[in-house]
């Protein structure tokens, strides 16, 4: 398969090269050759645009700021550069024109923001679009691009669920909209091509080491190849994505070559990572006290034979910090990227190759590595009528891990547990008295993932007003996962042989293509500007998945060889196809540079719905009023330099329900009877369901003061998602708990988003910009017919957020017995889950945000980002085991209650046989005492870089940098890590040293 891929790739690159050769034809000579240098007053500006006014002819300044352009002596040059005021310079027969650009305070109107099918600017946008660029992504030593968004955007909440390489990030754009946990994924597009984030992995294989469904597909994108990531939030921005825009849209744009000098950039860093936060666990003495007391409490007069940890079988004086041994290692990160880019007036290209490698903090040799090649070429005809953009990304990653995350072992293993290895290096089973955690090192998880995304955009502009576009995309992902479990992971005293070794395989592929023709219209009508487009999309995606389980391996060295297995069984095949078709359009009208109206709409058809239900319409209307442009503000030259009111309303939808749900099918049950594999009815047959709809409303005000040195934006949104595709709850007499249908349930997300940007210091040598974003979300279930009779009854409450847990209310300890007590809500004298777990805990963040600073001082650049969240989370009371069983504990469980009058709030220990203590403890773990404040402030990212002075080398512009992730966490949380809140590996603290060379 891999070979096949390579050949496809090479063919692609070869054909690209051909195009490149064809289009790099000599340019026709003109009357006058104008040359010069563009500077900011001191330093050269490379990449500035020099355009001949009223034509499309232009060039870009090179590395030294130099340019040359042929023009008529009467022409006028327009010189522009991002963040600088554009200058208009008549040539007036000169052949040398040096230009000094002034930094522009109000650059709002210049930065092109990608809105998917069109671009806009901060000034003109009518919708809510957040954005980060390569500049910000590059300061972070990360492998998953989602990590770059953490803490950067209002309304976008991202959490890292595990520190294991290849793990997933949970992303929520303006809250949870769907009642189905798997129906809340945003739509991802890479260069306009839908990027399938449905995991191809199998939890059977990766479940013990990675969260979610194995390796996260977004790891297949290389952060360093990304030019910008835009997140579309409100109806105005997302309605053009119609049915798939309900949960927001993430647009990922890859870097493109720019005309100018051919450049080679080499960027490399190496770093070390370690677990950012450790639990304070008991030492051996403390642990032994707990255990001995537990046996005393349980009425043992002597320690039984099976309590190896305290009866002398194990060394009672030994102490091992298992956190240090099992998850305390150093993960080494190494990344190198070379980018070769450049271009002439009409053609530019970029070619980059990246190698990234990351080892783990676990013992043993494990690593995640990825290699990627990215290529794109851009060509336009001399008359600018034709334009062609071709890009292709290929990434292969290998995740070689142990199949089990050792974090739980590290937290729970007795501190006096035996030496893991014998003197000869073999696993020590200490006469079968423990399950040596190092056995997991022998059980390997291996994922190999190949991902190709390629697209082409052809554009033809017959006149100034019209242009035709054709977008073509193709993507292919292949994942092969395996878990090899040799019999050596079990205690040899069982007498097992390689007959008990097993191999689990998952082989999955997903292929998709799309075609998107569009017509774009641009014209000045009635002293306003009209921008309009209409287009259509065809998308097809096929997915194939196969699982195999092999056991009875003749020799462990052959564990990967299916031929060596005596018994192979199929775990099922899942082949699906998804087709999608839409017509979309946009009509934008701008008048007098202060009134903006934007109408977008889409008619969508999806194969996920039955006949007659496949199509639906979505639309949105957005408007903006730049009131600062009104006469009254302009006249007074007030402190208010920019002011805009904007609002939008519209609908989006979701078809994230899985394929074929409307079909009447039988599926394989996996149960064998008389040698036949059983077939069972898959579901109740109902072809009459349709889209979930999300009505989104937003109002926002954007202000700029003191010449835009201070910018503020406040947005309020209200999204109501209804027609939920959870299915209608049915009584069991129908044979099924529900029938797939649109349930008239409504989920509301309301929120406030604040964003502030201040350019605190602006001078020649020092620039200091600070950004603050802050979000207050509120999620609420507004309606759910028949909730009490549905399978969701214990999960949701009308009027409460979706992520609630119903728990007992802990009322304290019984002063006589020291047993935990809980509120008996219905007063029947019994504590029952159904009647007394009535306290509602919501673990959704109350607010979250980020605070970023970029400071530039001469050649130095400092960037740092604090991320903060206020939330409740499950603490050690939930995550630990019953105090007294053979499992280590957080030190807060020291000093249990022992007699009347004790001040302790820890109930007496038990080894699990005291029913009162055990039952009370189980309730305790499902009570409000198992939740506590998990708010945190985290120094998410820190970066210092120093650009070496020109004198250092004349051919290389180089800089060195020191960067870090998750460097500091301030929290009161009594649990492992406030971000992932589990016994999974916490996010790592990473330090890197890097070098950036520009030739």
């Amino acid at each position: 398969m891999i070979n096949n891929h390579k050949s496809v790739r090479w063919r692609r690159i070869f054909s690209c090269n051909l195009l490149f050769l064809i289009f790099t034809l000599p340019i026709m000579a003109q009357d006058l050759l104008v040359t010069g240098k563009v500077t900011d007053g001191h330093l050269p500006i490379s990449g500035a645009n020099i355009l001949i006014k009223n034509t499309k002819n232009g060039v870009v300044s090179d590395f030294d700021g130099r340019y040359s352009i042929t023009a008529k002596p009467t022409d006028t040059l327009l010189v522009s550069y991002l963040g600088y005021t554009t200058l208009t310079i008549p040539i007036q027969n000169r052949t040398t024109i040096d230009v000094a650009l002034q930094e522009d305070a109000t650059a709002l109107g210049e930065v092109q923001i990608n809105a998917g099918y069109y671009t806009t600017t901060d000034r003109e946008k009518t919708g809510s679009i957040a954005r980060i660029t390569a500049k910000e992504i590059e300061t972070q030593p990360i492998s998953n691009p989602m990590a770059a968004l953490q803490g950067k955007m209002a309304g976008v909440n991202i959490t890292q669920s595990t520190g294991v390489p290849g793990g997933a990030f949970n992303i929520q754009i303006r809250g949870t909209n769907s009642l189905r946990a798997d129906g809340n994924t945003p739509l991802y597009l890479v260069d306009g091509i839908p990027f399938g984030t449905e995991n191809l992995g199998s939890t059977l294989i990766s479940g013990a080491v990675l969260t979610g469904y194995g390796i996260n597909p977004l790891n297949s994108l290389n952060p360093k190849d990304i030019e910008s990531i835009e997140v579309l939030k409100d109806a105005d921005a997302t309605a053009i994505y119609g049915s798939r825009g309900s949960n927001g849209v993430v647009l990922i744009t890859s870097k493109k070559g720019k005309p100018g000098k051919t450049k080679l950039n080499i960027n490399s860093y190496s770093g070390i990572g370690s677990v950012s936060r450790k639990l304070k666990l008991m030492n051996t003495q403390q642990y032994l006290i707990v255990r001995e007391q537990a046996f005393i409490n349980d009425g043992f007069t002597e320690i039984p034979f099976y309590a190896y940890d305290i009866n002398g079988t194990w060394d009672r004086n030994k102490y091992t910090d298992w956190q240090k041994e099992l998850i305390g290692g150093t993960a080494y990160t190494n990344s190198t990227q070379a980018t070769f880019s450049g271009g002439a007036e009409n053609t530019s290209f970029l070619l980059s190759g990246t190698h990234y490698k990351e080892t783990t903090v676990f013992p043993g040799d494990f690593e995640f590595s990825k290699k990627s090649v990215s290529f794109n070429i851009n060509h336009s005809s001399t008359d600018q009528k034709f334009e062609l953009l071709l890009s292709s990304n290929y990434l292969a990653d290998t995740n070689d891990l142990l199949a089990t995350d050792l974090t739980r072992q590290a937290y729970t293993l007795a501190p006096n547990a035996p030496e893991p290895f014998n003197s000869d290096g073999t696993l020590n089973w200490e006469n079968s008295t423990w399950d040596n955690p190092y056995r997991y090192i022998n059980e390997k998880y291996l994922a190999q993932n190949n991902n190709l995304i390629s697209n082409a955009m052809l554009q033809y502009q017959p006149s100034k007003e019209w242009s035709l576009k054709l977008g073509l995309g193709f993507s292919d992902s292949q994942l092969q996962e395996s878990k090899a479990s040799p019999h050596t992971i079990y205690d040899p005293s069982y007498g097992l042989s390689s007959k008990e070794s097993s191999l689990t395989l998952n082989d999955a592929k997903m292929q998709s293509w799309n075609i998107e023709p569009q017509i774009v219209f641009h014209k000045t009508i009635l002293s306003g500007t009209v921008n309009a487009l209409i287009g259509t999309t065809f998308q097809n995606r096929t997915r194939k998945q196969n699982g195999l389980y092999a056991r009875g391996i003749s020799n462990n060295n052959l564990i990967k060889n299916l031929a060596a297995a005596s018994n192979i069984s199929a775990l099922g095949t899942n082949n699906t196809e998804y087709r999608y078709n839409a017509v979309f359009g946009r009509f934008n009208y701008a008048r007098a540079n202060k009134y903006f109206l934007n109408f977008t709409g889409r008619r969508d058809g999806s194969s996920r719905f039955g006949p007659g239900k496949q199509f639906a319409n979505f639309w949105a209307l957005g408007a903006a009023w730049l009131f600062s442009e009104e006469h009254i503000f302009n006249q007074n030259k007030s402190w208010l330099s920019y002011g805009k009111l904007r609002g939008s309303y519209g609908t989006t939808g979701s078809d994230q329900i899985g394929d074929y749900q409307f079909l009447d099918t039988y599926s394989l049950s996996g149960l064998n009877y008389q040698g036949n594999t059983g077939l069972k009815p898959t579901r109740l047959f109902n072809p009459n369901f349709s889209w979930e709809t999300n009505k989104k409303m937003e109002l926002a005000i954007e202000l700029g003061a003191f010449n835009d040195r201070l910018m503020l934006s406040i947005a309020h949104y209200q999204n109501r998602s209804s027609n939920q595709l959870v299915g209608i709850p049915l009584p069991g007499t129908t044979g099924f708990p529900l029938v797939t249908a649109n349930l008239d349930a409504t989920v509301q997300n309301i929120g406030w988003e604040f964003e502030m940007q201040g350019r605190i210091v602006r001078s020649d040598n020092l620039n200091w910009t600070t950004f603050l974003n802050f979000t207050v979300p509120k999620n609420k279930l507004i309606a759910f017919p028949n909730l009490e009779g549905s399978t969701y009854r214990n999960k949701f409450i009308i009027g409460e957020p979706l992520d609630i847990t119903k728990v007992y209310h802990y009322t304290g300890m019984n002063p006589q017995t020291g047993i935990y007590e809980f509120e008996d809500v219905d007063g029947d004298g019994l504590l029952t889950s159904a009647n007394d777990r009535k306290k509602i805990i919501s673990s959704a963040p109350k607010f979250f945000g980020g605070f970023q600073n970029n400071i530039n001082y001469k050649n130095w650049q400092f960037d740092f980002l604090f991320q903060f969240t206020q939330q409740l989370g499950r603490n050690n009371n939930y995550l630990g085991d019953l105090p007294g069983v053979a499992s280590n504990l957080s030190v807060e469980f020291n000093n249990a209650w022992s007699a009347v009058g004790d001040e302790s709030n820890i109930q007496p220990y038990s080894t699990g046989i005291n029913a009162n203590i055990t039952t009370a403890y189980n309730r305790f773990t499902t009570s409000d005492a198992a939740f506590s404040d998990a708010s945190f402030v985290r120094l998410k990212n820190f970066s210092i870089s120093y650009t070496l002075p020109k004198s250092f080398s004349s051919i290389v512009e180089s800089s060195v940098n020191i960067r870090g992730q998750n460097l500091l966490t301030i929290t009161k949380y009594n649990g492992p890590d406030p971000e992932n809140q589990s016994v999974r590996l916490p996010p790592l603290r990473i330090f890197t040293f890097g070098l950036d060379l520009n030739f």
Binding site: G535, S669, P681, N786
Partner: protein
């Protein structure tokens, strides 16, 4: 210049038209996935139709109602009555042992939902197969008969556990979601109707190898049982007679072989999800540690064995500690996975028909016949002939014999106590939590919320 613009404009209109036309429904029509089958295709082919039926048996033996793990009645009703003692407070059957069920109980809900899911599957088989023309008539009749039998079998258990329940005969969920309870006489006549039809369909069909599918004899056995429960002694006797005299069944003399998968006394049995696995019964009951980790046979049951009863030796196992001894059911003995299973879970065996006939005969005044049938069962267990003489004594002797013969099997004990009205007198002294209303399990709370037509809830909940 103008003409060019006009031309361009025309092109653009053409393209816009094209785009709107391209938005076609044909494109998003997809084929059925090749990893699933539509309901229609399943019943156009004999092997897939068989797979749809045999999955119902798999579910019964692995996942619900009559399965041998703690999701089935052998354990749940065994603990609920006086057969099993629970030693683990953390397992779901503990509240059954305490007779402390609520309408929120997950095991109750899962038996209810699991059973009706299988009833749906039998109805789906019945409805679809009836209209299928691709299946040979002989196979078609046999499968239809099996489906009807299975539908009756599940309803019969539900009726005895929950009392009045809806009798579901269609897959239409709009009807089934608003369905009313059927009264016990209605259920009885529906059961009889289904089974009489199944009898006709299965009459001349060759039984499945190893009795892994319900046969003509199985239908008659269930009929005998139902008639017995409804006190139609004559019919019960006649159906039992027919089964006992059937040529394909032979009484087994050796207690050791009664539960072997080749046993000639077996009428219908179910296999696990994979050949070679032990039965769930063996896996759930057999223990080697003291005290028992989960469950053991109750003392009252062990005390009910007559001293020389061979069944105590052959069909129970035990673990001793210094002071105590605990017994477990050892009818099913295979405990490790092997190349081939040596036992399957038996649903009907010939011994039951003898005891049904004994009871029916006693009621009909045919005391000698009743005595002979009881002795047939007793003698095999090395017990002397019964001392019972009168009708009343013989009836008591049958119930006692049933208790010992069928202990830990499919809730026989609980149903016997219930149908003979002995539950209060028997269970009140031995079971602390027993109330008269415990005779029925609660209907799942969610069920009543979603379909108020099923109200009222059973008394006591």
């Amino acid at each position: 210049m103008k003409t060019i613009t006009k031309l361009n404009f025309a092109y653009i209109i053409l393209i816009i038209n094209g785009i709107t036309l391209l938005n076609c429904e044909d494109f998003i029509e997809i084929d059925v996935p090749d990893s699933q089958l539509t309901g229609e295709t399943v019943f156009n082919d004999i092997s897939s139709a068989e797979a749809a039926v045999s999955n119902i048996y798999s579910e019964l033996s692995n996942n619900t109602l009559v399965c041998g793990n703690n999701k089935g009645v052998s354990i749940l009703l065994g603990s609920y009555s006086d057969e099993l003692q629970t030693y683990n407070t953390g397992i779901p059957e503990f509240v059954f042992f305490q007779n402390n069920l609520t309408s929120f109980n997950a095991s109750v809900t899962s038996i209810w939902n699991g059973s009706y899911n299988l009833i749906y599957a039998t109805n789906a088989v019945f409805e679809r197969l009836k209209s299928s023309t691709a299946i040979p008539i002989n196979d078609k009749e046999r499968i239809l008969g099996e489906a009807l039998f299975t539908r009756a079998f599940i309803h019969f258990y539900l009726n005895n556990i929950f009392g009045e329940i809806p009798y579901i005969t269609t897959t239409n969920y709009t009807i089934n979601s608003k369905v009313n309870k059927s009264t016990t006489p209605e259920i009885y006549s529906l059961l009889i109707a289904d089974l009489e039809e199944a009898k006709l369909l299965l009459a001349s069909k060759t039984p499945s190898p190893l009795k892994l599918r319900p046969s003509y004899n199985a239908v008659k056995s269930l009929l005998a049982r139902i008639h017995l429960y409804h006190e139609n002694w004559e019919d019960a006797k006649n159906e039992a007679n027919a089964v006992i005299n059937s040529e394909s069944l032979v009484w087994i003399e050796s207690l050791e072989s009664v539960f072997s998968k080749n046993s000639s006394g077996t009428i219908w049995q179910l296999m696990r999800n994979q050949e070679g696995l032990p039965t769930y019964e063996a896996q759930s009951f057999i223990f080697t540690l003291a005290p028992p980790p989960n469950r053991a046979l109750s003392n009252v049951l062990m005390d009910a064995f007559e001293p020389e009863d061979l069944r105590k030796e052959v069909w129970t196992g035990h673990v001793k500690s210094e002071e105590n001894i605990w017994y477990y059911p050892y009818k099913y003995k295979q405990i490790v996975t092997d190349g081939e299973s040596s036992e399957y879970s038996i649903m009907f065996r010939i011994e039951e028909l003898y005891l049904i006939r004994a009871e029916a005969q006693a009621h009909l005044g045919e005391l000698e016949g009743a005595r002979n049938d009881i002795n047939k069962v007793r003698n095999r267990a090395s017990l002397s002939n019964t001392s019972a003489e009168t009708k009343h004594e013989l009836l008591n002797a049958t119930i006692k014999e049933r208790r010992i013969e069928f202990f830990s099997e499919l809730g026989h004990r609980f149903f016997d106590l219930k149908r003979t009205g002995r539950f209060n007198t028997t269970l009140t002294p031995t079971k602390q939590g027993w109330d008269a209303t415990d005779i029925l399990w609660p209907l799942p709370d969610s069920e009543l919320l979603l379909n108020p037509n099923l109200l009222p809830q059973n008394a006591g909940y």
